[in-house]
Amino acid sequence: MNVILWALIALGVAFGVVFLAARSAQRRLPAVVLPPGEKMPRTALQQLAGRSLLFCLPLVVAAAGIVTYHGAQVYWDDDHVRLTVTGLLLAALAVFAFYAARVGTWTARDDGRLDERDRAILASAPAGQAPAMLVTLAAWMIGLVETYHGTHLVPSVYLYLIFWSCLMVSLLATFAGILIGYRRS
């Protein structure tokens, strides 16, 4: 199987496990009872993280889809494909930069946009980054070893892809960590 496709499936399973763990943790807490017809109010940070994830995820999925469709070698050799993918990934980075700037401004101004619970969730959100990146690296390692075990040679393009995938997983894990934090507390 295509090594990139294998890595994507592994990542999908990893995010599924994280989602189920979050749902399970939520079920152990007392349920929030709201008046009929009323929805849970969303905080400014929750909205920002949700929108950032909404913008980032399609960009990352599109970039991964293009690389998977064309294959790693075509991606590396074809300037058009490589620039398209790099553009999508830089757009995802720009979304993260916007998110980081907004949060930084709110924190510096201390104008009440972030309360103590928001700050606690913000502080604990990066906890998911390290496990998510470990899963990503493990997926790459297993996929590459299984594919290139016989040749003892791994194409250098994969170093580039490993870097980008770890970076993107790290960004997505930050947004997901914030959203999960609100569901868990």
Binding site: L29, P30, V32, V33, L34, M40, P41, R42, T43, A44, Q46, G112, D115, E116, R117, D118, Y182, S185
Partner: protein, 72 residues
Amino acid sequence: MAKAQIRNEIRRLRFEHGEMTQQALADRVGCSRQTILVLEQGRYVPSLLLALQIAKVFGTTVEAVFTLEERP
């Protein structure tokens, strides 16, 4: 060691203070309405600062708003 849980009387106190809304309380103590909502329902334990601010809004002590409930 017995497990402990913090209970609060915020909902009752809000109604005793002119049916104060969650948003009004949130505005007065400087937090979001969601924080007041999860606090009232026992899903979030506030910091000492927030607990003191809430008690001050209701003109009472922290002990009157928050109580420790021990479970065997």
